[in-house]
């Protein structure tokens, strides 16, 4: 059992308010990812849970007991840093054994644990090596192993794979998740990389400027972002956002992008009225919600292809709508070259609407 709860946690660094009234429950065996840009307070929150930072006010509870007064060593929580923090003069075996020796574990018990952790991380063949002989990935595997040998109640990871090559990060993501499945300890993982967050998390906690923006499963935060910040932080390439005006024409709703108008179902007008929302709003649509056709079709508007970014399996194409850019996702090679005239439509089912001023989602979902 290890449930972590934060109640009204607040912290300042001098004049900077780094954590603002954060409330959160991380359930037993859950894998939660804190996601946000640098300086959003995610690492400070993690360090506060670990006992590496003090908080100004609020409670941090582990299985219902306040732990904010306890020293880091007494919290039974393990921490993995981005920069490995291994002992360079020890072998891998000794690095893994160290936390157990520190609490005077019996020798054969140490050996059994080190061997088993080494095996589950795929580093059994490296136990006699010194850290300097290891690759970055293996060093991080050892660092994670060292956090696991004491079977902590919770595992906290601060951008553990942030300094690795892109390719290696992919492999490590899978390993981390399988490891979590196997040993099941409650885990909190900090990253600024939304791909990592989406791929790893049971739930994502999106933070900005010390404030929780949204807590939800990857699917929830992707499909129903609570505000403009989350909408733009989750998903790559970034969601198109346009401050626009909804008008009515011929029984349909229209939205203007530059001098072009795109049609949306009439129900949008009623929904806006029902919610007492302004018709001046921010429209959000992910690249896959911008439908592209090479031939003219009803409801499709003429646009010009600008930058084409091939990703291999698909292309991301910047479409020029007057002076505005609408970023679309197409099948690979669908648009041959920049400068081509094509046609685009906004898929109503994938359109998001936000209050421009507050940034909050208007929570309007249109059918197709």
């Amino acid at each position: 059992m290890a449930e972590i709860e934060l109640r009204h946690v607040d912290k300042h660094f001098g004049l900077v308010h780094v954590i603002r009234d954060v409330n959160l429950t991380v359930k037993d065996k859950e894998f939660v990812v804190f996601l946000g840009p640098s300086g959003c307070g995610k690492t400070t929150t993690l360090r506060a849970i670990a006992g590496l930072e003090e908080i100004d006010s609020g409670d941090i509870l582990l299985d219902g007991k306040p732990i904010q007064g306890l020293r880091a060593a007494d919290r039974d929580i393990a921490f993995v840093f981005q920069n490995y923090a291994l002992y360079p003069h020890f072998t891998v075996y000794e690095n893994l054994a160290f936390p157990l020796r520190a609490v005077r574990t019996a020798k054969d018990e140490i050996d059994r644990t080190v061997q088993s952790v080494g095996k589950s991380l795929g580093i059994s063949h490296l136990l006699r090596a010194r850290p300097s002989a290891l690759s970055g990935g293996d060093m991080q595997r050892v660092a994670i192993g060292r956090a696991l040998v004491r079977r902590p109640k919770a595992l906290l990871l601060d951008e553990p794979i942030g300094s690795l090559d892109a390719k290696l990060r992919e492999t490590m993501r899978l390993e981390l998740k399988r490891l979590h499945l196997e040993n099941g300890s409650t885990s909190i993982y900090v990253t600024h990389d939304q791909v990592e967050a989406m791929s790893l998390a049971d739930r994502i906690v999106v933070m900005n400027e010390g404030v929780l923006q949204q807590v939800g499963t990857p699917t929830e935060v992707y499909l129903h972002p609570a505000n403009l910040f989350v909408a733009q932080f989750i998903g790559s390439p970034v969601m198109n956002i346009s401050e626009t005006m909804v008008t009515e024409a011929g029984g349909k709703a229209q939205i203007a992008l530059d001098r072009e108008t795109f049609e949306l179902p009439a129900e949008l007008l009623g929904m806006l009225q029902q919610k007492n929302a302004s018709r001046e709003l921010s429209l959000g649509v992910r690249p896959e919600g911008v439908l592209v056709s090479r031939e003219a079709r009803p409801d499709y508007r003429p646009v010009e292809a600008h930058l084409i970014q091939p990703f291999g399996g698909f292309d991301i194409v910047d479409l020029k709508v007057g002076e505005q850019t609408l970023r679309a996702r197409t099948t690979a090679g669908y648009i041959a070259k920049p400068g081509e005239r094509v046609f685009a439509r906004i898929d109503p089912a994938q359109a998001h609407f936000f209050d421009t001023k507050s940034g909050a989602s208007l929570d309007i979902r249109l059918g197709d």
Binding site: D165, A166, E170, K177, Y222, S236, G312
Partner: protein, 357 residues
């Protein structure tokens, strides 16, 4: 105007060879990306072009001028590094002005202002000109570093992982900014990275380096579809291609250790025998009634799609499925592949046995 030609270029350090026998012809106005893992020789190559390293063997030509004996300044190239080398005490404007004030350049104050104006407009840093550089964010600092290159109006821009130190989100926006910038300037860019997304999305052509050797040069889509060997195949594309060891036998691929078999269609196998079969995750078909039975080993949610890792026997296969597919880890699942998308590699050398590459 600058065409860059590397001929038979090698660089040996005391006990290792960083770059070996490199031939490369980069066209004027091209956005060329050197892609490879750490230690592949990308940065050494870039530094040789910049004149910061001397080749052990081989020649470097800029516009058909042999520049081997030229110093860095004479080559008229600008280098942008991962670490922004800005003067912390100076304002952005003074940082931009600095490279122009050299007596060698002999530029008028008016010309200097014009160039700063142009660079700051292009990079959208006009509002930052009077700010000290230690008050800038990482993205702003990197824009200023690029600005310092632009004001010099060099023939060639050399960029060594300029986006690596930035946040993922910022990297994404600077990628398209840089590509647009290069279009607008019409200058030759040589861009070094280990990130295949950067290479694919920005490069007119990509040169892939491994262990000091150039493995393949081609457009992003050519390299993606026709990787020369298993190294390129697995380096380019994310999530990575599936590379499955198996035997060709009677028109089928039988995986080793023997766990499943799939039809080969017209895949270019030279008779029965041992091969490595490559299939990209988007070409693996997950559907009821597909030939192979497996378990869901892992699920990665990528928003628009899910990447499933499937486990058949002890073999892991990645497959891309639409986001709406609902599965749990350890669920039974069936998959097949699109035989026309299978890439066949020599088991020993890793070379792509398909035609046309």
């Amino acid at each position: 105007m600058a065409r860059i030609r590397l001929e038979n270029l090698s660089k040996k350090f005391v006990n290792h060879t960083a770059v070996e026998d490199l031939d490369l012809d980069i066209a004027d106005g091209e956005f060329f990306v050197l892609l490879g893992p750490t230690g592949a020789g990308k940065t050494t190559t870039l530094r040789m072009i910049a004149g910061l390293e001397k080749p052990t063997i081989g020649r470097i030509y800029i516009n058909e001028n042999d520049v081997n004996e030229w110093g860095p300044a004479e080559r008229d190239v600008a280098l942008v590094l991962q670490q922004y080398s800005l003067y912390p005490r100076l304002s952005v404007r003074d940082n931009l002005k600095f490279p122009l004030q050299s007596r060698v350049r002999n530029l008028s104050a008016q010309e200097i202002d014009k160039r700063i104006e142009y660079a700051s407009q292009t990079l959208r840093i006009g509002h930052l000109l009077d700010r000290k550089t230690d008050r800038l964010s990482g993205g702003e600092m990197q824009r200023v570093s690029i600005g310092r290159a632009i004001v010099r109006e060099p023939q060639v821009f050399l960029m060594d992982e300029p986006l690596s130190a930035l946040d993922a989100k910022l990297r994404e926006s600077l990628r398209s900014e840089l590509k647009n910038l290069q279009r607008r300037l019409g200058a030759t860019f040589i861009f070094v990275t280990h990130d295949q997304v950067e290479a694919m999305t920005m490069g007119d052509r990509i040169g892939i380096l491994n262990k000091g050797r150039l493995v393949q040069v081609g457009t992003p889509s050519h390299v993606y579809k026709n990787p020369r060997d298993t190294f390129v195949a697995s380096f380019v594309g994310s999530p990575a291609i599936n590379l499955l060891a198996g035997q060709a036998s009677g028109g089928k691929a039988v995986m080793t250790p023997q766990s499943f078999e799939l039809p080969l269609g017209n895949a270019p196998v030279a008779g029965d025998g041992a091969y490595t079969f490559g299939i990209r995750p988007e070409d693996v078909r997950v559907e009821a009634g597909a030939p192979v039975e497996a378990k869901v080993h892992d699920i990665e949610n990528h928003g628009i799609e899910k990447i499933l890792t499937l486990r058949a026997g002890s073999i892991l296969v990645r497959a891309g499925v639409p986001a709406r597919v609902q599965v749990k880890v350890e669920d039974p699942i069936r998959f097949g592949w699109d035989p026309s998308k299978v890439i066949v590699f020599d088991r020993d050398t890793g070379a792509n046995l398909g035609a046309g590459n």
